[in-house]
Point group: C2
Chain length 286, copies 2
């Protein structure tokens, strides 16, 4: 039985993503930060870790990318990815009316994504929590304190609402009102592990590199991919943190590092970059 | 006298950046969100707007980039940029001891940047505010409520601290303790305006484009720059928000749109991209 560390708390989207992949026959431990998930895997306290890496509306989860930059020597590599559709609901107490809602709790991204709906239907009284699962906790009558218990929640329990997945309303005397959104809202999660995952039928490789500081450096780096007709699925820049306005690049591309065309590409890339790390070659669904 | 709208509240870094550029002979209005700054300029209620766009440790300010994506037809263009060094200090009451601090208030980015220092010197009791200026407000004895007055601050005033620029401690019976950081911490701000700014001696152009969905599309787009030996100073990808895992690119490069080599580049780029917007050509210091 595998032990899976995920960015918690329990029942949050990352937990669901981990369960989607590893099912009910795994032992799940929640870690409070992305850094802690990496630690669990690095110290062999978990076989795999699951962290969010990107949302289709909000973009990259920079904490996750920066962990690879800050600890470039980590033994952790990417073993796979999980995609999860995000659907928000307003969770309220059964019998509560929208007009009686005095405070809405949720993760900042969820609040941002529901901003228009909230403006139309509710007062603009929002409280940010560290996760949507925690936001639902804030509705419970015994929860009198704002997350980590230093600030008092003044709104009575029945006037509190949370934005979270509808499933989180179950078994607590709560009701979920779907919040419609026409945009495609998905989050992509990474599976972290030690060593190398088994090669799949279709594979993806993730790398991290920095270009030499001269005109056309990024272009030259991409030339290697073009030459081998390798499709990039993603490019993301992050600050180097060493010098202002100097960047590192994360690239995801189709193919496995053991394929000759990928080997040739990485070799060429090594010549035109000043740092190159392969974060993982892993199977993907197509 | 110019009217300058900036992302507020008063005395926050964006305000200081605006003052650095426009000095004391301008009339400053603070706007609560990035979107509101754009609105001020779009409706001619301000001559210029100032918003943060990038920090050298944290990366892009996605709100600002996404405003250009969400309202691609805005008449607002970039008229210039301002760079400001960020130095954090712990602001406490005069006579207060570090051991007596029960709560630290600041903007989430400032808290993140001082995380190691806070772990070494203080309890891990942190409260996020919408700005560093607001964090300092939380120290005042009359401030009994957490930002926007729904949740009570239980820590007594003398046990509260804020992370902000040292200047914000002035004239309030407060003391600033510098928080050392060896990393280069700078924020870059955009000056927003209507029409086109005067061409400077050295100029930069910012564009937004989407590539056609085929292998090598980004490479082909960059080829135009390489051919004309134009140096890219920045590339940033953002979700298209139309389809999951489809991206738009923001590129900053050296040169003015009126220069022949830039004209040729933009013309070539128009052929290899499905959307191309020039966000502005503006003078920069070198």
């Amino acid at each position: 039985m595998f032990t899976i560390a995920y960015l918690g708390p329990e029942k949050t989207n990352t937990h669901l993503a981990a369960q989607k992949k590893f099912g009910s026959r795994a032992y799940y431990v929640h870690a409070p930060t992305v850094d802690d998930v990496f630690h669990f895997v690095e110290r062999s306290k978990a076989d795999y870790g699951v962290v969010p890496v990107e949302n289709s509306l909000e973009g990259a989860v920079t904490h996750t990318l920066d962990r690879f930059v800050d600890f470039v020597q980590t033994p952790v590599s990417i073993h796979g990815e999980i995609e999860l559709g995000i659907r928000h609901a307003l969770i309220v107490h059964r019998g509560a009316k929208l007009t009686g809602i005095a405070a809405v709790f949720s993760h900042p991204q969820a609040l941002a994504q529901c901003r228009d709906w909230l403006r139309r239907h509710l007062l603009d009284v929002q409280w940010e929590t560290t996760s949507t699962a925690e936001a639902v906790q804030c509705l419970l009558p015994e929860r009198k304190w704002y997350p980590n218990s230093r600030v008092k929640i003044s709104a009575p329990p029945h006037s509190r609402a949370a934005i979270a997945r509808a499933e989180l309303a179950r078994g607590k005397g709560l009701r979920a009102i779907p919040i419609p959104d026409s945009r495609e809202n998905k989050t992509r999660f990474l599976i972290l592990g030690i060593g190398k995952p088994r090669k799949g039928r279709h594979n993806k490789t993730s790398i991290l590199f920095s270009t030499k500081d001269r005109p056309g450096a990024l272009y030259d780096a991409l030339a290697a991919f073009k030459r081998e007709r390798i499709n990039l699925t993603k490019i993301e820049s992050r600050p180097s943190k060493k010098k202002a306005w100097e960047y590192l690049f994360f690239i995801d591309f189709e193919g496995h590092e053991s394929e000759p065309r990928v080997k040739r590409t990485l070799k060429a890339l090594g010549r035109s970059t000043s740092l190159l790390h392969i974060l993982g070659s892993y199977p993907v669904k197509t």
